[in-house]
């Protein structure tokens, strides 16, 4: 019964989306207030109904209702509750339902917090948002219905892929989707502005918080996924340049660019058509990502069950929306004249450079991801494009971005003075060069990666501090630091976070140490500065798995640093093994231990990795997200959000 209610609510939500896609648009073009006003309650209703539908599916997973095909295929009665819940989106159908739920949520938030938008713009934004909604509701209902029943329910389910039964991955998709799908609202704003034929500073200000919010969630989502890969896949890789990862990374890069170009629109009424184009492309790449994950065009370990019919459907959605918006863009771009004036040396120019670098970096990822397909179709060559290509082709642009970022961040608006900015940065530069030199001197190889990473890290962090210090003026009144606008703090924290991540990636890749051996009990061995000893191996039992668990003592200078328990698990229902690495986390780096099979000659395969600065990668990502959140909480956005928002308590998530 509850399942049918959920199914019915989903159909109702789809119908409401149809109304919301048509009525407000007509109202906006005819200037009929009553028709435009339909958008707001429709968006709310659409969200509530989708939420009911989602809750019904979640209920089915929690009570293990094996009359639902989806539950049988992705759940098991013995699974811990948290993974029953995360099982809802650990499969194609459920994740699509989560996708439309978030789409509806963003639409509803635009309705709730968009009180200050001009009525026609608001009606059009919600109309476009609902059009995207209609397409995805149709996709779910016609090709991927999660509420299909089985005539003969089995006794128990087939369990969720054990790799997905993990806290990091349980919450990775929701964050990722909040980011991906949040960009739909930027797309709706862009399309609505094109229909209106009007892009001004106010538009830049309205679209920025939504971009910031999406980017922030995307950052957390990607970081969670990468962290999961690091500890779960058993060798501590954190990024594989897999098509599916690239699919989430491309919108992130474009959202970061959009975030910065919207500032120029807001401040100077310039870069308007570029910003609109970015907003369209950012969501376009989200759709490309969805297409890649679900079509099977580019197979990947992360991909869901693939099906050509679904692939075609999403391709159609992609073509209609991106193509439609781009056509509209081509027709209207000419009317968007830039108004503001700025000098060659100015913050605005630096932001243009930022956008060039981010967009080109995104393009490199895009070309690399699709090249195997292009080469096969056009030249009949079956080839691979893997991590070595991306590391070489993508990294230079990021390094360049890291080098110029501090200078741009300190340049004045409109007309900056290069000499002044450079003078202020001298201490940061000296510090960064000194650290890079130290890294060069201390490392054994002659690789440049480590020193360059340390330089960028120190350069970005120190310059962010410099940025804040210059804001307090000559008086050295440190109390003023706390009274700075939150957006200034957000900028500094996010930029420093990027430095921390860069340093982490470089440190890990340059200085990782590895040791593989057949270890016998009570025979110590050394890796780097540490001594390891396998104390014991025993069989342990979990709720839906059993494992061989090793006990390894890690010592440094005779003192125990850590006692680690790596596991090799088996999930009998899903018939899959997983490795659970044991990781000793520390600020300077991780000790990462994995246990494998018993060896014929006695002993066990044990792999030990020393991973310097590993935590910095995700710590930096968290800082970036925190910076985004700080910016989002800035008073400016609350002012921009208008009178309705002013009466609400602060800290509303949509700010």
């Amino acid at each position: 019964m509850i399942n049918e209610l959920g199914h019915f609510a989903l159909i109702l939500a789809a119908l409401i989306a149809c109304v919301q896609a048509v009525v407000p648009m007509i109202g906006a073009s005819k200037r009929w207030p009553g028709w435009m006003a339909v958008a707001e309650p429709a968006a709310t209703a659409q969200f509530l109904l989708t939420a009911i539908s989602f809750a019904a599916l979640m209920h089915a997973f929690i009570v293990s209702d094996f009359s639902l095909k989806l539950v049988v295929e992705n759940s098991h009665s013995a699974k811990p509750l948290i993974y029953k819940i995360s099982g809802v989106w650990g499969n194609h159908e459920g994740s699509m339902l989560l996708w439309v739920l978030i789409l509806a949520l963003f639409g509803a938030m635009a309705a709730w917090f968009g009180g200050n938008l001009p009525p026609t713009l608001r009606a059009r934004v919600l109309g476009v948002q609902a059009m995207v909604g209609v397409a995805f509701f149709a996709f779910i209902l016609f090709t991927s219905n999660p509420f299909l029943r089985l005539a003969v329910p089995p006794f128990d389910g087939q369990d969720l892929n054990p790799l997905l039964q993990d806290p990091g991955l349980a919450f990775h998709p929701p964050f990722l989707y909040l980011g991906y799908v949040g960009l739909s609202l930027c797309f709706s704003f862009a399309a609505a502005a094109l229909i209106e034929g009007r892009v001004d500073a106010a538009w830049g200000r309205w679209v920025r918080p939504w971009t910031l919010l999406s980017w922030l969630f995307l950052t957390i989502g990607i970081a969670l996924g990468s962290w999961w890969a690091y500890y779960e896949l058993g060798w501590g890789g954190f990024w594989f340049w897999d098509p599916v990862e690239n699919a989430s990374f491309m919108p992130w890069l474009l959202a970061a660019a959009l975030l910065h170009s919207a500032i120029v629109v807001e401040k100077r009424e310039a870069l308007k058509s570029w910003t609109i184009l970015l907003a369209i492309l950012a969501f376009g790449f989200s759709l490309v990502g969805t297409f890649i994950v679900r079509s099977g065009l580019l197979t990947s370990v992360h991909a869901f069950a693939t099906d050509p019919e679904r692939g075609l459907f999403i391709l159609a959605i992609l073509v209609v929306f991106t193509g439609g918006a781009l056509t509209l863009f081509a027709a209207r771009a000419g009317t968007m004249q830039a108004k503001g004036v700025f000098g060659v040396v100015s913050r605005e120019s630096a932001l243009v450079a930022n956008n060039i670098l981010l967009a080109v970096a995104c393009f490199v990822v895009f070309v690399g991801t699709l090249w195997p397909l292009v080469a096969e179709m056009l030249f009949g060559r079956k080839l691979s494009v893997g991590a070595p290509f991306f590391n070489m082709a993508f990294t230079p642009f990021m390094v360049l971005l890291g080098v110029i970022l501090p200078i741009g961040a300190l340049l004045g608006w409109k007309r900056g003075k290069m000499g002044r900015a450079l003078r202020q940065l001298v201490p940061a530069f000296v510090l960064a060069v000194a650290l890079a030199g130290l890294a060069w001197a201390m490392q054994s190889g002659r690789s440049l990666m480590g020193p360059v990473g340390m330089f960028l890290g120190a350069w970005l962090v120190a310059s962010s501090v410099t940025d804040l210090l210059t804001r307090i003026g000559q008086g050295r009144d440190y109390g003023r630091l706390l009274r700075l606008p939150r957006a200034d703090w957000g900028k500094a924290v996010a930029h420093a976070g990027m430095g921390v991540t860069m340093a982490g990636i470089a440190g890990l890749m340059a200085w990782q140490q590895e040791d593989i051996r057949a270890a016998t009990l009570n025979t110590p061995w050394t890796v780097g500065a540490y001594e390891f000893e396998l104390m014991n191996v025993e069989r342990v039992q979990g709720p839906n798995w059993f494992a061989d668990q090793g006990e390894i003592s890690v010592r440094k200078d005779g003192e125990e640093v850590a006692h680690l328990y790596p596991q090799k698990r088996s999930y009998p229902v899903a018939k899959m093994p997983t490795t659970e690495a044991a990781i000793h986390n520390a600020f300077r780096g991780d000790i990462y231990v994995v246990i494998g099979d018993a060896q014929q000659g006695g002993g066990w395969t044990v792999r030990v990795y020393l991973k310097p600065l590993a935590n910095w990668i995700w710590g930096g990502a968290l800082l970036m997200a925190l910076g985004g959140a700080l910016s989002l909480s800035d008073r400016r956005f609350r002012v921009a959000a208008g009178a309705r928002k002013a009466t609400q308590p602060s800290g509303v998530p949509a700010e």
Binding site: L233, A338, F363, V364, A387, F389, I516
Partner: protein, 152 residues
């Protein structure tokens, strides 16, 4: 298709890749083997190099690489040997031959193009008449005031 994905996952599943019995006695040769391995694709996996993969085919390739190295091949010879047998699909780092130059040049080319475009744009902006703030229409002035007062 789903079954296939599952099989692939099983084949390349998370477990130990390089086994202790594969490791060469000479650390220099082993280091070369690892370096080569990281550029070679496990053919039955997706985007995994043979160093990280647990598939039995990856193990065969790892052993093959080590066999060639002990036989005295240079790194380039080992790679050529594998490309001869398995095609360029095995290379994670595509060659620059044929149309592949476009893949490698795409980023730099676009970068140069975008720099030019961006430079022209910035120049145009810096030379443009200062018409912006002064030329708000009365309508826009009113709207601006409304927004700034926070009751738009």
């Amino acid at each position: 298709m789903k079954r296939l994905a599952l099989i692939l996952l099983l084949l390349c599943g998370p477990a130990l890749a390089v086994q202790p019995d594969e490791i060469l006695a000479d650390p220099a040769q082993e280091a070369r083997a690892r370096e080569i391995s990281q550029g070679l694709r496990c053919l039955v996996c997706q985007n995994e190099n043979i160093d990280d993969s647990n598939a039995s085919l990856a193990r065969d390739l790892r052993l093959l690489v080590r066999e060639r190295i002990t036989a005295g091949d240079s790194n380039a010879e080992v790679i050529d040997y594998l490309v001869d047998r398995y095609g360029e699909f095995v290379l994670l780092r595509p060659t620059t031959g044929g149309w592949n130059w476009l893949l490698w040049a795409a980023g730099p080319l676009l970068f140069v193009f975008a720099l030019g475009l961006g430079g022209l744009y910035i120049r145009a902006r810096s030379k443009a008449e200062a018409e912006s703030e002064a030329q708000l229409s009365p309508e826009e002035q009113a709207r601006l005031k409304q927004i700034l007062d926070g009751n738009g």
